[in-house]
């Protein structure tokens, strides 16, 4: 199971990094969102993979590590705030300069479409 989990996290990271390296804002926002999934999964797994041991006292004999869960919970919410902010920023930029190109204007001019 661990190896499957690790491969999944790696794949998610690879796909998100690829998206972040695009030159347009929408794929980048999607990439950032996916990267935050990958990071959350990674952080969560620092408590190791445990099945049927809820971090709720009295429900099972053993309990999993609650700390990574608490950290990841807030990370999800903050990640949402960041995603939202970057989306609105992209929309604003598109409204202001009429393009969703993320590179410097001069650079985009000189290198052509990308």
């Amino acid at each position: 199971m661990e190896i499957l989990y690790a491969i999944t996290v790696g794949t998610l990271t690879a796909c998100s990094v690829f998206l972040i390296l695009r030159g347009r804002s929408f794929p980048i926002v999607i990439g950032l969102t996916m990267l935050s999934y990958a990071v959350n999964l990674f952080l969560f797994s620092t408590g190791r993979l445990v099945i049927n041991e809820l971090p709720i006292i009295g429900t099972s004999e053993a309990t999993t590590d609650p700390l990574p869960q608490a950290l990841v919970l807030t990370a999800i919410v903050i990640g949402f705030a960041m995603t939202a902010y970057s989306i609105i920023l992209a929309v604003r930029v598109r409204g202001e300069i009429g393009s969703d190109e993320v590179n410097d204007y001069n650079y985009a001019e000189q290198e052509g479409q990308r």
């Binding site: 690879a14 926002v29 049927n52 608490a70 995603t83 609105i88």
Partner: protein
Amino acid sequence: MNLAAIVFLPFLGAIAPLLMGGRSRVHSTLAAGIVTSICIGLLLSLTPAVLAGDIPNYLNSWLPSLGLNLAFRLDGLSLLFAGLILFIGLLVIIYAHYYLSSKDSAPRFFACLLLFMGSMLGIVTSDNLLLMWFFWELTSISSFLLIGYWFHQSNARRGARMALAITGAGGLALLAGILLIGNIAGSYQLDAVFAAADTIRNHDLYLPALILILLGAFTKSAQFPFQFWLPHAMAAPTPVSAYLHSATMVKAGIFLMARLLPVLAGTPEWYTIVTLTGLATLLFGAYFALLKTDLKGLLAFSTISHLGLITMLLGLGSTGAVIAALFHILNHATFKAGLFMIAGIIDHETGTRDMRKLSGLRHALPFTMVLAVITSAAMAGIPLFNGFLSKEMFFAEAYQQDLFGGLSWFVPVLATLGAMLSVAYSIRFVHEVFFQEVADDLPKTPHEPPLMMRFPVIVFATLCILVGVAPMLLASGILDVAVRAVTFATPTLDIAIWHGFNMPLLMSGMAVIGGIVIYISRAELLTFSRQFDSHDAKDVFASIVSATTRFCDNLMQRFENGSLQRYVAFLLVFTLVVVAPELMAIVQLQGSRPMLPVDAISLVGAIVLMLAALSTAMLHRQRLTSLMMLSVVGLIVSLSFVHFSAPDLAMTQLVVEVVSIILMILALFFMPQRIPRASSGRRVARDVLLAGTVGGIVGTLNYALLTRPLESISDFFLANSVSGGGGTNVVNVILVDFRGFDTLGEITVLAIAAAGIHKLLNNLRPFMPSSDVDGRPWHRVKHPLLVQTIAQAILPLALMVSVYIFLRGHNLPGGGFIAGLVTAAAMILQYIANGVDWVKSRFDYNYQKLISIGVMIAMFTGVGSWFFDHNFLTSSFTHVHWPLIGEFELATAILFDLGVYLTVIGATLMILANFGQMTTRHRPRQEGY
């Protein structure tokens, strides 16, 4: 204590002239003068003790871990310098009062001057090398302000910049040298460093430390080849030149060499470097002083030359040489300060400092002429003036030394040559300005200046004569202790005007005669020097600076070409470079923790997750499809949280997923509908390679982590959750209790993000299409009935669920975050189904207010525990001990969670409602729809 006060009073006093801002100049002068006088009084009160052989000191630790102490000492050397700084400082203040014109800002001048004075006092009284360096840098900064005082003049700005660049760079070298010395000695306190002198001299790092420290000293004291900044610093007002270049700033380097003489001197490296540098500077300065046509330029190069003389004496390092050096410091300060002030008077009265225009001033300025003759005679080393005595001692030392073996003879010969030049430019200063025929084309008609402006010069001139006539009476006391502080030996001082016919007297005589000859034949010398191209040091310096800047610019252009994609790629590559070697160092990737078996559902889930992620990436140009794939990824992530015992996470992830996807679909409306094929094949290949490597590394890291045994700090939370936090859901107890402060920070971030988004949407004129990508117009039915009905039916249900989730959160999966998101999602559904106006007419609530209330509730819950004498956010459960406690404890935790709940609702809705309303308010429509 008095000692520390002497250093800090000028810093405090620097505020006084500024406070006098609006008043007349007299007030500023008085404030500065009084501060200086108090310092002189304090210094005088300590003087008897120092003269008696005590070393008053003051010690207070500042950053003990770095070895930096607020430590001061007043030994003989410090006393000599502190006396010069304060005494000359006071006279300069008096002089400046008359010198500054009504257009100049007197408060700023005196404030900078006092800052500088305090920094200099700090250097000379520091008992800690790091502290001394600190003040050293302060002098660089305050002298920058003083030299650039007339900042409207470009040469003042350039001169100030050059002085700062050179002395600042030297300061950095000095710091490195001091760190080396401190490391070798094990302490930065002077006594400890002195005690470790032999260790330092025999250490492998002695030479680097010596060179670094000498770099600092030579740049500050304008020694060859760093002398070029000093003439350009003459753009400063003359009182500043008189102060900085006679007694203080440039003497700081000399002071440093004298201070560290017991530690560094006595080696071949020391005397070779220091003596030769001093000698070169002596000759160089004297020669150029003779050629300069600017009065202050002449004095500047003469200062360089005299500094070279003192440096050379310190390089020789014998007791006699140290006596001569310290005595010459004293003498040079008096006659050079006087000469600068005379130059200032001439400039002030005639309107020019150009010696080609000035001549015959003996009629207009007879009194000033007398003063000029006295001080110039001291500079030239004419008998009965103080300069003669120290120069005589210098000749004696130069003659006696045999440090350079068979070549030692060239030192006295060159020293005599330097003295000849010195006599020549001294004669020139007096003769060209005051004698010859009367100039009739001066910008102003000169008159004698006010008596008080001449007063400081009179004091200096009197001192030149008195010390010259009765040296033992006036100077021996202070010199005795100062020499003792440098050499640790009791010197036998025997300064006399007449030593009988001997070699030094002969050298003096030759210097005077030679000087006169050189002066008479100066025309040939000028013709000779005209053959050489003269480079303006300012231009050379400027071209070096601009070449450096250009080089850096070009270098930056290589990296910063405006492509954000490239920056991200750089960052990723750098991360790989750092992380990969660490992973290679792991011998066995798989740890000892037993692995879980793979079940079929997990396998299917993982495969779907990976496929969805890959499709998101590959189909990113088909925006909606890509987004749908992303939502699949999010859903399976939340399912995996369910599988791996994290119900809270699963719920949060699920709702956040829904909200984010709605937000992104909204955003799609405003983004370009077609994404052009953007990347070249090469770029895609590069990105795939990079992404694959990063993914591989992250996966490897995760695998290594997952298979290793867990050592967690969570046992504390598990053990204390029920007893300390009163809840069985440990995740929630951590959020609202154990790590409540973090959560407070988190909801604040959420609130700030929402506020930022609110601001970003302000006045936004977004691009909005009136049809979809294939040209089909939007449908005229904005709110389908079916959706409307279902949405309204769901709302009460969803609210109920959210309240339930909220209330049970402390003991079962749930809590403020999840409940808030559920409520927000239900509300968003109303917006989608019915439109902004529909919702507003029914539920018109200001979300900003909701956010503020939420954050405030959470914060005041925390503050509440202060009233029970407990730390911020302490749960009341732990400290209240009467029957109703259980209830009360529950109340505080849930209050905090209520704050979280409201903030999450407010922030989410503010983001989505504000954004969504743009689509309904300004949506363009096509005819007929």
